[in-house]
């Protein structure tokens, strides 16, 4: 079995040992290897393209899905797990939105590892010192209004300024998360680009207004390097997007933030709207070339669905399990001192059912890149017109998205297979 994350490898080792101890023969024992993300991706794709065997179990990250699931269903390199999932009643056991990234035309090719609901992490020390109560924040408009007293030098003058939100036009993952939360996204359930969706226009207009408007509230803080960590410690931004796994990253990489951060659900786009989104994701798949799929399926369930792993995944990795029946575990109710004693496991679990569905497509990367370009166009417009509201930006966003959609569709149409397949599967895909 191949995995790409050190943390995963460490968590799985005990479960693998328990499994191996119970196996009567060497044939069904598991050998766990930790590889780099790119290495897993390249080896897996080489194996799929050449039809040669690879590892019997591959843990894969979301971005490989576009390539691994391209082509006709019967040519996908992973084993179709749909029937096994139905047979073992996993469809209801697991949070539905966790299946969609690993699905194609209603068929599922991977066992989901996580849900990855997203909240906002905010500098509770600063917010509370100012006497602000974040529980009054229900929508993004509330967020800007309630926290704006904390802005410093919003005109962009140097060094000692402070912003409200870590968000920038280059952060493709955040753009995707916000459009998904608004009900849009880059790819629809058929795997086709859906950039023209009105929710997308709304989301990117806001992003432009917040980052490049007349009174910006958002700035960029890099998530994964030292410069970003420094700005986090300095309190340059009040709030940052925080899927469950990000909590673990900060705990390990920026321990100075302990006790200073707290979490709150994402502000909704509309009152009563979704209070969360999603970022990242992992699945466990069985390549078609594997010799004993039934034993592997048993092991996969043992690994991913066990209570022990769910507990360890949360305790050691801050990640909540997609298995709904395990959500009652008391481990999720433990107060977390890093986040000011919040019972953050429970908070994430409460948001899990609202996590938006996202779909995989060979055109996903392209569609997202065009979505980002469209966002940049609106940002440039917002800066030029010194926008103070989203109304003038919306038509610009719609036009930019229309062009982005057209560009992406040009590539879709060029692919003769895809056109044929989507025609065939369009009626069938409707009834899972």
């Amino acid at each position: 079995m191949w995995t790409f994350a050190r943390m995963h490898a460490e968590l799985y080792a005990p479960a693998v040992e328990r499994w191996n101890a119970k196996q009567p023969t060497a044939a069904t024992r598991i050998d766990l290897s930790l590889l780099g993300v790119l290495a897993v991706e390249q080896r897996m794709m080489s194996a799929f393209l050449s039809g040669l065997p690879s590892a019997d179990l591959i843990e894969a990250e979301r971005r490989i899905a576009a390539r691994a699931f391209a082509g006709p269903i019967e040519a996908v390199g992973f084993l179709d797990l749909t029937d096994r999932i139905e047979r073992d009643g996993l469809r209801d056991k697991i949070n539905p939105s966790s299946f969609t990234p690993w699905s194609k035309s209603g068929r599922v090719f991977g066992l989901p590892h996580d849900v990855h609901p997203m909240m906002l992490a905010y500098r509770a020390d600063i917010v509370e010192a100012a006497g602000i109560d974040v529980s009054t924040i229900k929508t993004w408009d509330d967020f800007v209004r309630v926290l704006s007293p904390l802005l410093k030098n919003p005109d962009g003058s140097r060094r000692d300024d402070r912003m409200l939100l870590n968000l920038w036009e280059t952060q493709i993952d955040m753009i995707e998360a916000l459009t998904l939360q608004a009900g849009g996204g880059a790819i629809d359930s058929k795997g086709l680009p859906m950039l023209e969706h009105e929710a997308n226009a709304r989301a990117i207009s806001h992003i432009a207004l917040w980052t490049r408007g007349a009174s910006p509230i958002a700035a960029e803080v890099a998530y994964f390097d030292g410069t970003g960590h420094k700005l986090m410690r300095d309190g340059f931004v009040i709030a940052t997007f925080a899927p469950d796994w990000m909590c673990n990253f900060w705990r390990k990489e920026v321990p100075q933030l302990a006790g200073k951060l707290k979490l709150m659900p994402l502000p909704a786009w509309d009152v009563g709207g979704a209070r969360t989104s999603v970022w990242g994701g992992t699945m466990l798949g069985i390549p078609r070339t594997a010799k004993d799929p039934d034993a592997l399926w048993e092991f996969a369930k043992h690994l991913y669905l066990s209570r022990e792993l769910a507990q360890e995944l949360y305790v050691k990795g801050d990640i909540i399990t997609p298995v709904r029946e395990l959500w009652d575990d008391p481990v999720f109710d433990a107060p977390d001192p890093f986040f000011g004693g919040q019972r953050k496991g429970r908070m994430y679990i409460e948001l899990a059912p609202q996590v938006p569905e996202r779909f995989s497509s060979p055109f996903g990367a392209l569609a997202l890149a065009r979505l980002q370009s469209a966002t940049s166009e609106v940002c440039a417009a917002a800066r030029e017109m010194q926008a103070t509201s989203i109304e003038p930006l919306l038509p610009i966003a719609r036009e930019a998205l229309r062009r982005a959609q057209a560009d992406t569709m040009r590539h879709v149409r060029r692919n003769r297979f895809f056109a044929e397949l989507s025609e065939q599967s369009a009626p069938a895909g409707g009834a899972p």
């Binding site: 794709m45 799929f48 393209l49 039809g51 971005r63 576009a66 390539r67 699931f69 391209a70 082509g71 006709p72 040519a75 996908v76 390199g77 962009g156 140097r158 060094r159 036009e169 280059t170 493709i172 700035a219 960029e220 890099a222 390097d225 030292g226 410069t227 420094k230 700005l231 340059f236 060979p362 055109f363 990367a365 392209l366 890149a369 980002q372 370009s373 940049s376 166009e377 560009d407 040009r410 590539h411 060029r414 692919n415 003769r416 297979f417 895809f418």
Partner: protein, 330 residues
Amino acid sequence: MMAPSASRTAAHTASRDRAAWLLLAPFLALVVVFTLWPLAGAVLLAGQQTFGPGTSRFVGLANFRGVLADPLFWQALQNTIVFTLGSVLIQLPIALALAMLLNQPGLKGRSFFRLVLFSPVMVGVVYVGMIFFVLLQKRTGLINQLLAMLLPSWDINFAWLEHWIMLAMILASLWQYTGFNMVYFLAALQSVPSELQEAARIDGASWWKRFRHVTLPAIIPVGSFVVLLSIIGSFQIFELPFILLQGNAGVDNKGLTIVGYLYQTGFQSGDLGYASALGWVIALVLGVCALAQRVLSARAEAARSTSAPRKAPAPALAPALARQPSGGNP
């Protein structure tokens, strides 16, 4: 009488041929397996529409038509040309100037400077990317901090890695490769005939005239080779933007290079046929550059072979000179 001897010779030749082929075999096998076969595969692939593993269809030149009609291709080409021109027109004159400075007779610490200027090449491009990623950050980057310190009006949020990504890339590769090209020029400057330099000094030629009539003609063969290397290297730029932009194409695809686009289509979207077609277009562009270089340097070489021997009477040259008909040698 002749027959046995002739057949022996034939047998001898045959066995020699066999030995030759046997000795060549390992090399040929490597070339066939790792060069010719993939090359043929790339030709076939460029004519195919692929869709996931194991599904493909011959589509003729559709991929090439698609490439030529693809605005992203043209943008990537334009970005790459901008980067290439930046590399060639900024980097090479600086490299030549540095080489000429280091070539001054009587310069102290020459090998120290040479080492210092050359050493960035020894750093992998990925590390260079990571270093410049940190250096060029908004707010926290050393370069913005320094500039803000020196120029009070400097915007500390100057976004090198967004709208100015090409400039950032040119800067980073300038830092990395100037010393490398300098070493080429330094070697070329050794071939500038010193007597010609002196003749020009006696003739009263100015610095610029000496550079134009003596130094430049002598280093043109190496110079044009360095230009070609720079063009090829610049055209293949991939790692630098990949690192600087964290795997994306940058704001409004400003950092999308042509190989980056190949990666995006082939390895992110999985459209291998299209990526192959892109690869052939790149190869074609570079082939034209290489051809131009050959023609150019052949011409320069022809003009140079004149300038006869350098220093010390080289006996080998005498017959060469004698062979030339006095009427001229076109």
